[in-house]
Symmetry: C2
């Protein structure tokens, strides 16, 4: 593997740069054609390395790219998932070089999507190309299922998976869309929190009112909203919504030790972020609070006059964005109903309430002792000389739970990013060492899955 990757690395990097030049921003209507162009580019790349049955599958918005190579009779099948869409580049003025003009500085490739997820996706294609060149075939059966809507919460992929579960059936789902703990320390994420996003709106009158004339005598929409928002937590940082913690497992000592084993530079982070203090649910560490405990965060709030100076009004409308991270057996739909009951119970006098639900994702836990994950760990060790850790991620990749549940396959989150690579932020980049070593790791992994190996 290594020699072929070394011999071809310039071309492998140039091809990724071509992929990164396509501004496939799924959230922005004006980039609709670019998203499609990225799907077509990807389909061509898959065909180019010998993948078969390459399809661009239409959805209500951005297409899914499917491909397979199923000639490894009697061997396991691996389904590779990734996404070819990217986040918007805003704020563009904070980029040192334009987001869609990839450049290499200090052996890092700078561009929107470099690490999330075009670079991490494309290294799989180049790994297969390398295997093909070395062996004339692949050691296992491989399927690709790549979406263009990950950054807009994958609205069309779950039904596609449900409808095509036989076509997508695999012995493992392989995903590179996560990060190392830090440089030199690989990680296979084995837990992702679920998610529930909502918007809570309050209305108290049909227009803002003069505070001199009505102030003190009519309900104030901002007062009503802050009362509700403040009721979601108690003073110990616990979520005060009845029923919220149902299905949240009490962490075992073993799990606590596993969580504590993941390095975390507490004082440095505190200083870097200018935090006065850490704060969260009483009785848990920072790593537990952010990795294996559920949360309810207000992501934003808006209401009444917000300009310069003063406007003495009683606001009639106010709203807040709220999102929960869920763990264990928590179900987003049930939590939504719990929160709905909570706001009705705490409804301030004269407030008309509305709670709109948007993203939902079930939490998922993966068993690190599964063979498919242990072989991935072996591959990392072979290439990097270090065994990966198994962190519990606080974030959510909703589709992981869907693959796990619908296909009944182990999901292997074999990430090659670094936490410092500015994903979703200006100056996103990807370390080229990890791009090339990632190819080798994926290649070694697939080779190790071959039953005759």
């Amino acid at each position: 593997m290594k020699q072929i990757i070394q011999a071809n690395k310039d071309r492998y990097i140039q091809e990724l740069q071509d992929f990164l030049r396509i501004p496939s921003i799924s959230a922005m209507g004006e980039h609709q054609d670019d998203v499609r162009a990225a799907a077509e580019w990807l389909a061509n790349a898959l065909e180019g390395i010998g993948m078969e049955n390459v399809e661009i599958v239409e959805t209500k918005r951005h297409p899914i790219v499917y491909a397979d190579w199923l000639h490894a009779e009697g061997q396991p099948t691996v389904l590779v998932y990734g996404h070819y869409d990217v986040q918007p580049a805003d704020p563009v003025e904070l980029w040192d070089t334009p987001a869609f003009e990839p450049v290499i500085r200090n052996h890092k490739l700078y561009a929107r999507g470099a690490t999330d997820d075009k670079g991490q996706l494309f290294l799989h294609i180049k790994a297969l190309e390398t295997l093909m060149e070395q062996y004339g075939k692949l050691p296992v059966n491989v399927k690709f299922c790549v979406e263009g809507e990950e950054e807009i919460a994958s609205p069309n992929l779950p039904p596609f998976i449900e409808e095509h579960k036989e076509k997508l059936a695999a012995d493992a789902v392989l995903i590179s869309d996560t990060s190392f703990i830090e440089e030199g320390q690989p990680a296979i994420c084995t837990s992702l929190r679920g998610a529930l996003a909502m918007e809570l709106s309050v209305e108290t009158a049909n227009s803002d009112l003069h505070s001199g004339v009505y102030g003190g005598g009519v309900p104030n929409a901002v007062h009503s909203l802050v009362k509700l928002l403040d009721s979601f937590h108690d003073d110990q940082g616990k979520i005060a919504v009845e029923g919220f913690y149902e299905g949240v497992p009490e962490p075992t000592e073993a799990l606590k030790e596993e969580v504590a084993s993941i390095p975390f530079r507490k004082e440095k982070t505190k200083k870097d972020l200018a935090l006065e203090e850490y704060f969260g649910e009483e009785g848990f560490t920072f790593q537990e609070r952010t990795g294996i405990r559920p949360t309810l965060e207000i992501n934003g709030v808006t209401g009444g006059f917000q300009g310069e100076g003063i406007k003495t009004i009683v606001p009639s409308k106010a709203s807040a964005k709220i999102s929960c991270r869920l763990v264990g057996e928590q179900n987003p739909q049930k939590i939504f109903e719990d929160i709905n009951r909570h706001i009705e119970a705490y409804k301030p006098v004269g407030a008309r309430l509305s709670l709109q639900q948007s993203v939902t994702a079930n939490p998922v836990t993966l068993d690190s002792s599964n063979t498919m994950i242990q072989k991935a760990a072996d591959a990392y060790e072979k290439v990097y000389g270090v065994r990966p850790l198994y962190p519990k991620e606080g974030g959510s990749i909703p589709i992981v739970e869907v693959f796990s549940r619908v296909l009944q396959s182990p999901v292997v989150l074999m990430g090659f990013g670094l936490p410092s690579e500015n994903l979703h932020a200006p100056n996103e980049h990807f370390h080229l060492d990890n791009y090339l070593n990632g190819m080798e790791t994926v290649g070694e992994y697939l080779l190790s899955l071959n039953k005759e190996s």
Copy 2:
């Protein structure tokens, strides 16, 4: 009076239209020259009717216009206050005709400033002109002190009054910048609440953080802010800031009766404003809550992500605009300190707080039995056939308390507006009947103050 006003009314209305054409918006830097043009126009108008010592007095921002006529030896002196600046016209698209192109529809004059306060100010000048024409002189001594900064909270007038209290000395301060109870029912306001405006800002980190990575483990600026904002009131609508109610008088039965005597269409207002319920301090009526009780209102709140869709962040900054209405002996500076102590006592973990003070005004109560007010009531009765009521206004005109305290003179709030005239809103207008009857009322009032009358 009446005949001369009738004979000249077309010209009196045309001149007011000229005044209204000047977009003297004090809050907007680009209208600086227009504000000055309005001051000059006003100075000319005062000179034109025979006022003397007309001065345009420079301040740090917009000038004060002074003028006097002091030839009524042995007679009382009346100081007329008003303002020649106006509110911005936003939202301009909601005006039926342009804000600075005055038009008459249904005997109402539509323009920004028509009722607040150019129309109500200019009727004094036309009243004096009428008296001059009828008698060749004025029945009392008259001074004018007109500012161009009322709509930006009069930053430069209080020091001017302090420095020139002999020059401005008067037996009564006459102000027309308030409203009737409703058409046909005049009012002399005898109480104005004080005011204190503030901005409360919370910061918890140097940037917004990813809620998947940090959520649940670091302070959230919006959580911190809503906790503080929610702590300002208890569930009975009382303000929970220690010391806040010091100096607030317990209303006497007589005062309660006086307040209750002011008509208020409770059910109609509820329907018009689409209120579900009235709400306020327990134990008080709507009229008491909005007229003679102090308040603390959140005028606006902002923090974190407020766009379309979802952004799963832990916000690092949030802020709120807050304003209080004060009564009795409440002192804005002391209340500010009380609130500062309150937020320090309730300071959420990890929150950096800042409380900035802006507008302050002391509350003021005027004695309705004062001769200067009773003679004004007689003048209303003579012209309108109805005695005025004496409402307690919930709003604040900060300068009233300054005139009252510094000049030690009774202030007579002889308003000619109607509550329905859209002040500070699109389609502001002024009833021409009240413009012309207002001149006659002012004329009759000044005649009644002459000791030989």
